[in-house]
Amino acid sequence: MALIDVVGVRKTYDMGGDLVHALDGVDMSIEAGEYVAIMGASGSGKSTMMNLLGCLDTPSSGHYLLDGVAVETLDDQELARIRNRKIGIVFQSFNLLARTSALKNVELPLVYAGRPRRERRDLAIRALERVGLGDRLEHRSNELSGGQRQRVAIARALVNEPSILLADEPTGNLDSRTSEEIMALFDELHGAGNTIILVTHEDEVASHAHRVITLRDGSILEDRRRSPVPPRISALGPTTPEDRAELLGAVSPSEAG
């Protein structure tokens, strides 16, 4: 049984009589430990897909099975538990609590997990150290750069040790150098055994993933594996994007659009 099973999912918005099919019958299956990029043009349904996978939204029809459980049958309590323990989400716009320290932001999922205060602090510090922000614990979110904010968001997503890490255009608001740093972080997390699904429209970002699913108008256009399955579990040490591009035979950065 796959970690994620999406079966015939549709998501339709009624815009004053006009039906918008954001997702128009999507089937896919993702195993634990995969590193997946979801690509596609703007408006192709990437974010809608991501929100469904993150249990923030429910399909209009079809089924989403997470660990074999049909998500649409769950109530608020059970959904909250899944969002808290099983899934970590990173948003394009970071979505940190304003005027709140990095530490408090990262502690938030632990608060709702009901962890004791001291344990919360320890785990949050460890998560921030992991993303390289061990020296920015008490900085408020508005005192951090974009890259640092996204690192805080990533620390928050992984602090509860979820099995799935979702990211919707995590580098969309970052410059290319910072993007590379963030992507290196995702690579590392994948190396440590996390399942990673990220949405992007940049080939350079997608080149980090081992499988690329391309959407168009709410349907899957292409589902391509770019590295042998099962994916790399052991850490290979630092790799440059050029190395990886060469290795995978992907398009060069200059060609990326």
């Binding site: 993150g54 923030l56 608020d76 909250a80 969002r83 808290n84 989400i89 938030l108």
Partner: protein
């Protein structure tokens, strides 16, 4: 655990919007302050009355003549009499009465050399008065039994009289005039201060029999009797005994009402308390409206807060907040807001009460805030927080996570 985090979040969000929070709680502040100010003033008054009345003890009793209003037509209205003979009969025949004094009062001026002074009352009493009324002599002596029997021309005065007539540091032995009667001052009463607008030091006591001679022939027909029962337990029996004795002495038939009234100090206390209680309740009810208005202010600002923080709510849900977590967060914030208003209002109300008490003329008692008023104010503020916070909070809790996250 989460409760404490919610509390911190509430304080944090109130602090970041400090000005707005203060303005929002203004209604609550004013409401609470008004309630506490009124209660503190009235309670101070009640507290003072209680202590003053309790000074004479639960065994204290006053008997006064009463004009019977509903005597049947055609019945010749008798002259209502209450005399010192009645009083002496009570002392002799009602068990449990150890001391009793008659009291007649007249509005006479006093004079000393070229100085005139109008005391509140010139009172004719006997030697039991200091014990019955728990009011002792400071210097000199009180009137004696012999003073009364022999109609001696002596007087005991209050400190105000000493002051007004300028009797000096040693008033004993000085000769003053009460009306046209020359009397010798034999004592000065202990100072008592003002109480409810009447000056307890502005009296002149003269022997009862002397007073009758000064006030005129009929003064002795309508005296007041003041007495003490020997113990609190038998007070009501004594009252009963006095009533039966007086009914017999006044030849009242069964269908006739008493032509006198017996006032127990306890009853006095009760009626004063109930009047003041009524005043407090009415004003309290009026002022509660201010708290409701304050509550609506809180609801308004909480709705604004929920809207402003829609994305925050979405984010919290995306990392695992349940509906009840969000509900509690905003409810606690509303209650905190209301309670902060309550605390400020409490302090302000007490300040206003103290200020008003000190500005009121005379010897108005100091403001007094009883614990129940504090508890009630906080209880009411919490209730306002819950009642007016529940709608915004449940609105926040019901937000769909993805809609909330997408909110611009």
């Amino acid at each position: 655990m989460l409760f404490f985090d919610n509390l911190l979040t509430a304080f944090e969000s109130l602090r970041t919007n400090l000005m707005r929070s203060m303005l929002t709680t203004l209604g609550i502040i004013i409401g609470t302050a008004a309630v506490i100010a009124v209660v503190s003033i009235v309670q101070g008054l009640q507290y003072l009355i209680s202590t003053q009345l309790q000074g004479v003890g639960a065994t204290y009793m006053i008997v006064v003549p009463k004009i019977n209003q509903n005597q049947g037509a055609g019945v010749v209205t008798r002259q209502v009499k209450l005399t010192w003979d009645d009083g002496q009969a009570i002392l002799e025949r009602v068990p449990g009465v150890d001391m009793i004094t008659p009291l007649v009062a007249g509005p006479l001026a006093t004079k000393y050399r070229d100085r005139q002074h109008q005391p509140d009352f010139v009172l004719g009493v006997n030697e039991d008065y200091p014990d019955v009324n728990n009011h002792t002599v400071d210097t000199g002596r009180f009137l004696s039994r012999l003073d009364v029997e022999r109609r001696r021309k002596v007087a005991v005065v209050g400190t105000k009289v000493v002051e007004e007539l300028r009797l000096g540091s040693d008033p004993i032995g000085k000769e003053i005039y009460v009306g046209n009667l020359p009397v010798t001052v034999v004592g000065v009463m202990e100072e008592r201060g003002q109480f409810l607008g009447s000056d307890n030091d502005n009296f002149v006591f003269i022997p009862f029999d002397t007073a009758l001679a000064v006030f005129g022939r009929h003064a002795g027909d309508q005296v007041q009797l003041r007495l003490q029962a020997s113990s609190a337990e038998i007070t009501s029996q004594v009252k009963e005994g006095v009533q039966q004795l007086l009914r017999r002495r006044h030849n009242l038939s069964e269908d006739q009402e008493d032509d006198f009234q017996i006032i127990l100090q306890d009853e006095l206390l009760d009626s004063v308390s109930s009047i003041l209680g009524g005043v407090t309740a009415v004003i309290g009810a009026v002022v509660s409206v201010a708290l409701v208005v304050g509550g609506i202010g809180i609801m308004n600002i909480m709705l604004v807060s929920v809207t402003e923080r829609t994305r925050e709510i979405g984010l919290r849900k995306s990392v695992g907040a349940r509906r009840q977590d969000i509900l509690m967060q905003f409810l606690i914030e509303a209650i905190t807001l209301s309670l902060i208003g309550g605390v400020i209002g409490l302090g302000l109300g007490y300040g206003i009460g103290a200020l008003v008490s000190s500005l009121l003329p005379g010897d108005w008692p100091p403001a007094h805030v009883p614990m129940w008023a504090v508890a009630l104010a906080f209880g009411f503020c919490s209730l306002v927080g819950v009642v007016f916070g529940i709608y915004p909070a449940s609105k926040a809790a019901r937000l769909d996570p993805i809609d909330a996250l997408r909110y611009e």
